[in-house]
């Protein structure tokens, strides 16, 4: 019975099936429209039918082959891991190749078929479009899992591997497939130019093939060695928790980036991403402090500042490529109060705010890493450890200052360079990232070449000198290796000075971005808001009927 018939059916003819259909219909109304549409399409698409049939066929063929070749050992020997190897390999093809590629094609195809523009002018937000596509990918994954569910049950019956390990191993594949699908969606939004999309498509497929090969090789090797996971070890689960806490923001970040790419240009695309970028920062700090307390050694905190510096350098290379223009629409949502402006201005779009956001965040991490050992000594080791294992405070400060100086100087210089170029030609975010990369590489190579040229020595005989101040790799290496900053003291002064100067120039230059204030929405918009969200007058007293 069609839905229209259901709706018009009289109460007398209403059956339990019709009620169920009505309930499902209501449930369907709550689903993302893209999931509904793609599920309908998938059921009719040749790609899905072929993949599903092949998966079933391969699963059953492998089962038969394994049973026939393994007889009579399967009656008494624990051969579960052996048969799971086959299922794992079979499942990895649709999960790690077909589904992520289908997700990529699903979004890229919207441009090719001319349907994206039609979609973008509906009430669906960019985030809904992307999450709808991802949810469709998840739906496909679940269907593929369900196809091999009997085989997985068969694996458990053959013994040799426990049910938790089986679920964990399948969970890893699911997580990998989800991550790859999200990457596929993000890659699909990178360009709308046909030939670049074809190139990206080829590169993405090759990357998926390589990933699947490495993935399968790793897990098949693991299973061939017995496939025993240390399920009784707390650290095993803590490591999983740690991975999960980074995995979820990574997925969200990729989704936000993909959604940002397809959001209407006048929308504020940067702020949600910047807010999300703070989550990994908090996680990095939290997990490193946990490690510090667990290991009883300051090593993790020392490592933390390098990880944070790399993270913010990568983020900064992107954020400093943003343009400074803010649409009136974005201006309507700027923070208004003094405190709000002071704290949240750095979340506003713009290369200047992005630069300061990055530098301030790294400074915050460095401060935390420096302060935590001082205010929170290790409970078990106490003074013995404090006296022996706390790093030399000056050294700690020197490394922190060095990292901060390099970040401020390199990001700031490239940003000023990009602003200069933008007077003549538009420069996008990828180009800015490339400029950053070139400058960072030049920062290492040029001082080396220069010192070699003036000393006439070979590279093997070059000694570190203050000429190497821009050479971040050598400066940090020599400080870490020698455990002291004495040898790099002049360089350190130069780095801090240059970093501070570049930061100040950028800070002053960013004034225009910071000075922006909230704009009041037009009257027509306020009127429409009242229609959409009418304000019901509150009763002022029990007798007030207004």
């Amino acid at each position: 019975m069609s839905l229209s018939d259901t709706l018009t059916a009289s109460p007398q003819t209403s059956t339990s099936w019709q009620r169920l259909e009505g309930l499902l219909e209501k449930l369907g109304d709550r689903l993302n429209p893209i999931v509904v549409k793609e599920a309908r399409q998938a059921m009719k698409s040749r790609q899905f039918v072929v993949t599903f049939s092949l998966l079933l066929l391969c699963g059953w063929v492998w089962t038969l082959l394994f049973v026939v070749s393994g007889l009579p050992a399967i009656y008494y020997a624990p051969v579960g891991p052996g048969v799971l190897m086959g299922y794992y390999a079979v499942l990895s093809v649709p999960l790690l190749i077909v589904v992520p590629y289908a997700a990529f094609r699903s979004l890229a195809g919207e441009w090719e078929d001319g349907t994206f523009e039609l979609l973008s002018i509906t009430a669906l937000s960019a985030r809904q479009i992307v999450t709808g596509k991802l949810a469709s990918a998840v739906l496909q994954m679940l269907v593929y899992y369900s196809a091999l569910a009997p085989c997985v049950a068969f694996t458990y019956l053959l013994r040799g591997i426990d049910i938790v390990s089986i679920f964990l191993l399948l969970g890893y594949s699911f997580a990998a497939s989800l991550l790859l699908s999200t990457c596929g969606l993000m890659v699909a939004t990178v360009t709308r130019v046909r030939h670049w999309q074809v190139l990206l498509s080829v590169v993405f497929v090759m990357a998926l093939l390589v990933f699947t090969f490495v993935w399968d090789a790793s897990f098949l090797a693991f299973l061939s060695n017995g496939g025993t996971l240390p399920l009784d070890q707390p650290d095993f689960w803590i490591a999983h928790l740690c991975a999960l806490t980074f995995y979820i923001p990574a997925i969200l970040l990729l989704l936000f980036i993909a959604a940002g790419q397809i959001t209407f240009a006048s929308e504020n695309r940067s702020t949600p991403i910047r807010v999300l970028l703070l989550v990994p920062q908090a996680l990095i700090i939290g997990w490193f402090i946990y490690l510090w307390r667990r290991i009883g050694h300051e090593g993790p905190l020392y490592f933390l500042i390098f990880v944070a510096a790399m993270y913010w350098a990568a983020v900064g290379a992107m954020l400093t490529g943003e343009t400074a223009e803010l649409s009136p629409r974005a201006l309507r949502r700027l923070p208004q109060s003094f405190l709000g402006r002071m704290l949240f201005t750095w979340l506003n779009p713009g290369s200047g705010t992005g630069y300061i956001f990055v530098v301030l965040n790294l400074a915050a991490v460095l401060l935390v890493a420096y302060v935590v050992p001082a205010i929170g000594p290790l409970p078990t080791l106490q003074s013995r450890v404090l006296s022996r294992q706390l790093p030399e405070p000056d050294m700690w400060f020197a490394v922190s200052a060095c990292l901060l100086g390099y970040l401020a100087a390199y990001l700031g210089t490239t940003r000023l360079f990009v602003i200069l170029i933008r007077r003549y030609t538009p420069v996008g975010m990828p180009a800015t990232f490339l400029f950053h990369l070139i400058l960072v590489i030049c920062g290492v190579l040029v001082p080396l070449l220069f010192q070699r040229a003036i000393t006439g020595r070979t590279y093997e005989n070059l000694a570190y000198s203050s000429l190497q101040a821009p050479n971040w790799a050598w400066t940090l290496e020599i400080m870490s290796r020698t455990g002291t900053f004495r040898s790099a003291l002049p360089s350190l002064g130069i780095i801090m000075f240059v970093g501070a100067v570049v930061f100040l120039i950028n800070f002053v230059q960013s004034a225009r971005e910071v000075q922006r204030t909230r704009q009041v929405a037009p009257t027509r918009v306020l009127e429409d808001d009242l229609v959409l969200h009418p304000v019901t007058p509150k009763k002022r007293n029990p007798w007030d009927e207004a």
């Binding site: 509904v36 549409k37 309908r40 078929d113 009430a123 006048s266 918009v525």
Partner: protein
């Protein structure tokens, strides 16, 4: 700014709109208003800037300068509010594979936030309006061009918008499908929708549009009702008079009048150009009759929209 809207609150407004692609000025300072419930014809040669300005109105592109408004909302700053009020039918189909007509419309109804009974009613209403009822389960790939156009019109109006923007909807359609489409647009206008339609088939536009705008090389060259533009562009009307004897005398008589020119005598028939309105033309006829000329036929005609279009534009593309 040229203003032809009869209603005091225009539902569509283009305000000093500019769109530049490199060195090309696709839209160059275009301003006009369209009142509620009107059908506005947007005319211009290929590459004139029609589609670009329509895409800006449909919130698919951003102007380089200026702004466009739908029901008072900026297409730049409030695209979400504009989209709720606007249906756009581009000059391409944009259909999905492995989807039938009902599923296609149902998907877009969901995408516009319609749910439950409201959605089913919207789909049924749209299928009925576009006469696609019998094709509900037919795959889109199997549809003819005319059917696809109707389906795309249905998609554009599924959420019952007050404004419809139709970019070349009659392009490539056979005469029957074209007439059907024209009827649908008329019906939409009768239902109070504002329709902005571009087309190359000018005779059809002249019949259905309350006002037209002629654009070339990104610039709006003429704006107004068809009659107004005809008057603006060609103030002279061509008159054909047949009299029963005395044609030469009438030619001499007409030659003395300052509002008559280009007199041609062909037997009993005289062709001339008259500068004036229809009222002054009636007065001329009366004077001819009062001067004792036996008029057996008096016909005048203004230039067609096609003639005006040819006169206004130069056929130049960017």
């Amino acid at each position: 700014m040229l203003s032809v809207a009869e209603s005091s609150t225009p539902i569509i407004e283009l305000r000093r709109l500019h769109r530049v692609f490199g060195a090309t000025r696709a839209v160059d300072n275009v301003s006009f208003e369209v009142g509620r419930g009107q059908v506005f014809g947007y005319i211009g040669p290929n590459g004139a800037g029609k589609t670009t300005s329509m895409r800006i109105l449909a919130t698919l592109d951003l102007p380089s300068a200026g702004d466009a408004f739908v029901d008072g909302f900026s297409c730049v700053n409030d695209p979400d509010r504009v989209r709720r009020r606007l249906g756009f039918m581009p000059d391409y189909f944009g259909t999905y594979a492995d989807v039938d007509c009902y599923e296609y419309l149902d998907f877009f109804a969901r995408a516009y936030g319609l749910a439950g009974r409201e959605r089913h009613q919207a789909v049924r209403r749209t299928m009925s309006f576009t006469r696609l009822d019998e094709l509900a389960t037919k795959p889109i790939r199997g549809l003819s061009k005319g059917m696809r156009q109707r389906l795309c019109l249905g998609r554009a109006m599924i959420h019952d918008p007050s404004v419809l923007i139709l970019d070349e909807p009659a392009n490539g359609l056979d005469p029957r499908a074209r007439i059907e489409l024209r009827e649908m647009i008329r019906q939409l206008a009768a239902d109070g929708k504002t329709v902005l339609v571009s087309s190359h088939i000018l005779t059809e536009l002249a019949e259905m549009c309350d006002q037209v705008g002629i654009i070339e090389r990104g610039r709006l060259l003429a704006l107004g009702t068809v009659a107004e533009i005809q008057r603006q562009q060609t103030p002279h009307r061509s008159v054909n008079v047949r009299i029963l004897g005395g044609a030469a005398e009438l030619a001499v008589w007409l030659g003395q009048r300052p509002d008559v020119s280009a007199i041609q005598l062909e037997g009993e028939q005289i062709r001339f150009t008259h500068a004036g309105t229809e009222v002054s033309e009636a007065s001329l006829l009366r004077e001819i009759v009062l001067a004792n000329f036996s008029v057996s036929q008096f016909a005048s005609h203004s230039q067609s929209l096609e003639d005006v279009f040819m006169a206004v534009t130069r056929g130049a593309v960017q």
